[in-house]
Symmetry: C2
Subunit: 94 residues, 2 copies
DNA sequence: TTATTTTGGTTTATAATATAAACTACTTTA
DNA sequence: TAAAGTAGTTTATATTATAAACCAAAATAA
């Protein structure tokens, strides 16, 4: 009856990150940090997990002289998110 | 933008328990165990947490000679579940 | 009758996860 | 040039979830 939820997405911060990226497709580290109100450390860790899962791609560059980290959602990430939403609906009685 | 999710409900097993109880209002330990495919230990622990939060009431009795644990959702539990669903919708873009 | 298994759980130990604190490497401003 | 700020990473700790071990009674089998 109840499908197992993707543990990678069933985390508040990672879900928030993915939620942002599903809409925006890409976003900067600092922007995500602001929107999610996460600490840098926590954000860094969770982004790496999502990257390792292939749910997003992390690009390092510079904006002027300052380092800049850009996150892009992948096809796999989008699909995983959509699947998670479907699975969750059964838990929420939606 | 994104409201903090109730950590008590943002747990796969506890959410499954509450999902069942929102529909059924009450259910036996053994029934919940079957439906959620949880181990007894895990179920016992999570039920106790939900009880301590006042989200459900646990009644101990006997069915014939065998012990029987019945779980009833409370008003507080129902409301918390509904609030959680609302909060989660923002994460899921629903 | 007395083992043995099954039922219905709880308690406790361990594994996994999330979060926070500390640190690095620079840049900007005073 | 010293202090403060930006943009992160790494590592340690706290929290949480899960599994393993256990308990008491009942049912079943020998």
């Amino acid at each position: 009856m109840l499908k197992k939820l993707d543990p990678l997405l069933h985390s508040e911060l990672r879900l928030a990150i993915m939620s942002l990226l599903v809409s925006l497709h890409k976003a900067e580290f600092t922007y995500i940090k602001e929107k999610t109100e996460a600490t840098s450390g926590n954000l860094s860790v969770q982004l790496t997990k999502l990257e390792e899962a292939g749910y997003l791609e992390i690009k390092k560059g510079f904006k002027g002289k300052m380092p800049q980290t850009t996150c892009l959602i992948t096809k796999k990430g989008t699909e995983a998110f959509e699947q998670y939403v479907e699975d969750l609906k059964n838990y929420l009685n939606l």
